[in-house]
Amino acid sequence: MSMLRRAAAAIFVPVVATSAIAADTDVKAPRLGTPLSTGEIAKWDRTIFADGRGLPPGKGAAKDGRVIYEQKCADCHGLRGEGGTAEELVSEPKPPSGDYPSKAIGSYWPFAPTIFDFVRRSMPPAAAGTLTANETYALTAYLLAANGVIGEGDEMNAKTLAAVHMPNRDGFIWIDVKP
């Protein structure tokens, strides 16, 4: 076998044999990770869970959220959340059906803390992550009130937001992993 062919064969073998990395138990790796302190992790950790874990201190209500919405959101999502260049946000507070396939917040979103999490990390797209916690609570309250899920005067904070029951809470079936 020529050198070239031997090299080609040597390169090819791992390609066909790498379908199970986990079975590769002989891996010897350096340990190069730098330990992180609790304080350092806090600067990285932006996870908010469905049950409200991770929601920050702060509060807000729909009337303040409406002002922010009209300034920063309405251009893309429509003046009343009916959708535009970006998706619709407002629907009736009832689960979807074959005749009512709405995927807006009131009909589809299963967890209220998800709204806070997504708005805080992603919205508005040209200035993602710039809203304060109070502004984000206010916007979340406005969206929930516009969808008829909470009252216009209800204050949202870490405790009350986690307690909101979304109409489509039980509307999902896990497929490739079991609860």
Binding site: S19, I21, A29, C76, K103, P113, D117, I173, V177
Partner: protein
Amino acid sequence: MAGKLTEDDLAPVAGGGLLHRRLFLQGGLVLATAQTATSLGAEEEAKPRAEDPTDPSWIHRTGLPFSGYGTPSKYEKYVARNIGGNRTPAGDGVSWTPLEDLEGIVTPSGLHFERHHDGVPDIDPAAHRLVIHGLVRQPLEFTVSDLLRYPMRSRFLFIECGGNSNAGWHEEPIQRPVGDFHGLVSCSEWTGVPLSILLDEAGVDAKASWVIAEGADAGLLNVSLPLAKLMDDAIVALYQNGERVRPENGYPIRLIVPGWEGITNVKWLRRLHVTDAPAMTRNETAKYTELQPSGKARMFTFVMDAKSLITSPSPGQKMHGANIYEIRGIAWSGRGKIAKVEVSADGGKSWAEAHLQEPVMAQCFTRFRSPWAWNGQSALLKSRATDETGYVQPERDVLVKERGREGYFHYNAIVCWAVDEDGTISHVYA
């Protein structure tokens, strides 16, 4: 044109003139291929030069100088991603891989499809970190330089957006080149560090069952993934097709989750939060879930089921009259290797097994080929993939009956191209 072949060789094995796949192994079979309108355009572009092929000017003078990074021929400039992004907000959209212009199984990195939720971040690798924290013995931070020193593995893997082919749910068959319909799928060689090595270094707690992966794009896209899958075969990829991952594909590091929907292959990976529950992020609840006729929605539909497409002939291309053609296409499955691809020229009444080109690898594009004696009459071309688990790609009516038409994601039905007597090709539901 097929002098060494007997009449038996050219006897169809299925309706509409499909020939036996062994013809490829015998050689000597000259095949016509349908030609794209765009490639015809490129030839015409060359005409004004009026070069004599027996004595063209370029055989008489020194050619172009060396280049630091090569680019495709200027005559191939029409081969490009078709950008379908929004104007407002500008960063939210897709670009499609031109599957009809490509051969083999590897997608050139510059033609790998894009799905960005808020644009492509311009990341300085010196200011990028991968953090692992949560239910671990020791939270850790890795620099990109650190990661480059770890043992690596390579795999050829497709990545397919969960929303690929979603026009298939439409009432009317969409008329577009195959890449603009199904091109949110691409296939690359991904090289990087098995994630299990890094998770083991951090020391995963026995109570952990999920990992929330977060990217460093504007919006910090995040998804929750089962720990078991990540420990099994996920890769923290630093290289794509031999070079560092392109910015639009996650530079400097991308999480590769073999066979799972595109969004789980988090680009610009910066944080892995090891937990005991999914976070229920926007992208795994409000998006990337599939509303069914019952009103319930399918959630955590991670695996991309088996799918196949005929890339030639396909809409936008034109037949050259009755002749022998090579039907060409790609097949893939998130569950493993492709076991079989069948093609039909009579709308699925009869099927012939296509030749699968080696290598056939798990969760990777497989190129299939099938010789076809087109008699010039109208025909209905289909391909049907079966993977090694026995899963068979469904007909469209079966998929729609089961899932309805509001699911949007995970459309993998059999695709049908109608070949007309005048040689034009269109997309039909049949």
